[in-house]
Amino acid sequence: MKKTYDAIVIGAGPSGIACATELAGKGLDVAVVDEQAGPGGQIYRNITGSSAAQQKILGTDYTDGLELVNAFSSSAVDYFPQSRVWQAAENGAVYFSRNGVSQQLRAPNLVLCTGAMERPVPFPGWTLPGVMTCGGMSNLYKDSGLVPSQSLVIAGSGPFVWLVSEHLLALDVPIAAILDTAPLKQVFPALKQVSGAVKRLDFMMKGVRLIGEVYLAARKKRVPIYRNVTELQAQGAEKLERVSARAGKKQLVFDVDTLLVSEGIIPNTALFRQVGCSHRWDPVQRYWHPEVRGEGQTSLSSVYIAGDGGFVHGAKSAEYKGRITALHIAKEMRRLSTVEYDEQLTPVRKQLDRELFPRPFIDALYAPRRDLFALDDETVVCRCEGVSAGRVRELVRQGLTDHNEIKAIIRCGMGPCQGRMCSAAVLELISEVSGMNPANTRQHRLRPPIKPVSLQELANAQLGEEDES
């Protein structure tokens, strides 16, 4: 089996496949390693296998991906689907498991297109079976066309809440209520960013139209929508039985067995943290993101980022970022002259800029609200190890302000997910108790493997035979 390439792209979402297709088009030897069964990432998940009915519900935001996926499929890329990357290294090595065997590939250029994930936010009862994310629901539908037949509640803030509501309303799923947790007052700080947004009125109108349509459809089906919702709780003994919340003075209770939540989208930085890229704290969206320069360069010369893994800007932007990074690598590998590079870069750069105009407004409008992590002491923060918010606060009061050390003592973030679910909350707790700006804390480190590997898989490793010459 071939082991070395000019570039390895990790992730087959819009940025990964756009990047790989472009690289292959320039004559570079490219491998794409991805966890899913087919190309498309989360946004275009199962796009080549989905039915006409699914595509109709999911709309053009989904079907727009077909062209991209088809171009990728007919390119000369070596594609490794169903391959779980568990470690990457600065020297260009990528380790992954496929069909029960660990393997290694190498390239002088790694493009990490790890995409985004939903912001994990603990709240009372969030670990109960029956509580799932809007993204999880969306994936289930894209994969299988399945939706719940029992009544459910949708709660959270951000465009994803409205998008999933629109789909579920169209599919006649019985919805007990839609709970919008975005504080209305966040409109005001967001208005500071409105100058960029008005350059893309079409984009803004699309958002307004989406929310308007959800309101109309909800009214028609008598689904109540509550704004400014707080105190969300999932209740039940073994599984979800009830959702309670507050809307103004009104106490809400719904007897449902499914709750869909979403509190926004953040970059999936696990691999960047493991490989050792420098990160920055974004004070508006309150997440760490890898430092990235104009063409996707990171603090490590062999590692590039394209797509939402660097900063969340959406699928279209991801695609353009993937192209730009590919052009840059092709230039560096002398497959493009500077003139050709400039010629080809300019139009893509323009497209990307157009996509980015409204983002500061959207980011400010849907910034995590102030009390998002105002957790009760009893709320479980680390679900792998069952560590409560109170226990974390206790250690911060003792003077520990480094998640890595807190973890080594009370195990929060030490389980199989390695803090993917708890590190945002632990950081907010550290900041809350110590008064430290998160930007000044030591970022939670991620050790290899970033995803569990079975010992048998590891024992079966084909890592040894290196063909370096």
């Binding site: 380790y95 290694q104 480094d402 080594a408 030490m414 493997p449 048998q456 024992a459 890592l463």
Partner: protein
């Protein structure tokens, strides 16, 4: 109480705030000495807080055994001495023999220890092996058990030692790198990264992986080099280890049975490192080697998951025993370093013995075998 404000002076300056430096500082402070510890990061950042947590007397070099035996007693006293149990619990350590030839090695080992008057390692037959660890592979023929060995939480231990040192009046400067250290007419002068100078009568080198470089600065270069032992931990597989930790006789592997049901894997696998940049790269090939042996020794671990690997900088020496005691070249300088990735268990006793030497007393255990100039003599 010491007035630290402008004085910038102490009886003893300790460089390195790991568990060795803190253990030594605690004992000195308890004898009334003023102590400053300089720590370039924070206590517990490196090997002290990130080792595999083995509190092991088994399998030690003969020269270390008196120290390990005495230290083991001190691990039971931590609630009293440092205000925390350090997460310590007993997990008997069983060294397996995979062949009759290996069994002979173990029998010899026990005899050697018995002749020296120690009885902490006991040869056990196959039945006892399977009683202690029911899921080991059928080819195992016997073992050597150390029933009193255990495991502890390294970060908790490091923090408990640092907090105790501070309670006893030791001043710990975290985030303070020593960039220069030299002997003066009245003792030592240490300069920190921010350009401040500190003076002390005596100086202790407990700089772990950085001991080679630091000792050179003082004109007493030690043959300590940095290594990065690599460990991994599995998901929870309760019931498989039966609380017994395992080692091997002929191959590299250490399996520690953590209380929550996961297994910490160590045993001498190493990763490439860059001490200057303070970077370590976990080498998956090494982990694959460990995994291969693991599934051979405990076949039921086949389905266990490796969920995390980690490493830390350790100071190592070629004969794998530490350097501890007074410098043979610079008067007033003391070393306690080079524990070669097995210093964690020894820290309590080392702090006590070092404080005795530093105060000019006869140490309760002789440090002769750990002399810094032992390699020069043999040349």
């Amino acid at each position: 109480m010491h007035n630290w404000g402008k004085k910038m002076k102490a009886d003893v300056l300790i460089v390195g705030g790991g568990i060795m430096g803190c253990a030594t500082g605690i004992e000195l402070a308890r004898k009334g000495r003023s102590v400053i510890i300089f720590e370039k990061d924070i206590p517990g950042r490196h090997a002290s807080g990130n080792n595999s947590g083995g509190v092991r007397a088994q399998g030690r070099d003969l020269r270390e055994i008196p120290f390990a035996v005495e230290s083991r007693k001190m691990w039971d006293q931590h609630v009293k001495t440092v205000g925390s149990d350090c997460g310590f619990y007993v997990s008997p350590r069983l060294r397996l023999a995979e062949s009759d030839a290996e069994m002979e090695v173990l029998v010899k080992r026990q005899k050697t220890l018995n002749d020296l008057g120690y009885d902490h390692e006991v040869v056990v037959d196959r039945d006892e092996v399977f009683r202690m660890s029911p899921h080991v592979a059928q080819h195992v023929v016997g073992g050597l058990a150390c029933y009193s060995d255990g495991l502890a939480n390294p970060m908790l231990t490091s923090k408990a030692y640092a907090a105790t040192a501070e309670r006893e009046g030791v001043k710990i400067f975290s985030g303070t790198r020593v960039i220069d250290a030299r002997a003066t007419s009245s003792g030592f002068r240490v300069r920190t990264g921010s350009g401040k100078d500190y003076e002390g009568e005596l100086l202790v080198n407990s700089t772990g992986a950085w001991a080679g470089r630091f000792s050179e600065m003082l004109g007493d270069p030690l043959p300590v080099f940095a290594t990065a032992p690599t460990m991994m931990v599995t998901d929870r597989v309760p019931g498989i280890m039966n609380g017994t930790s395992l080692g091997l006789t002929g191959r590299l592997l250490g399996l520690m049975a953590a209380q929550n049901g996961s297994i910490v894997v160590g045993g001498g696998y190493r990763s490439p490192l860059d001490l200057e940049k303070e970077k370590i790269w976990v080498d998956p090939m090494e982990m694959a080697k460990a995994a291969k042996i693991m599934v051979e020794i405990v076949p039921r671990l086949r389905d266990a998951q490796m969920i995390r690997c980690w490493t830390a900088f350790e100071g190592s020496i070629k004969d794998k025993v530490p350097i501890a005691g007074a410098s043979t070249k610079v008067s007033g300088l003391f070393h306690v370093c080079g524990f070669s990735a097995h210093g964690f268990q020894l820290a309590p006793i080392m702090g006590r013995v070092m404080s005795q030497v530093i105060l000019g007393k006869q140490p309760e255990l002789p440090l002769e075998d750990f002399r810094p100039d032992r390699f020069e003599k043999t040349q």
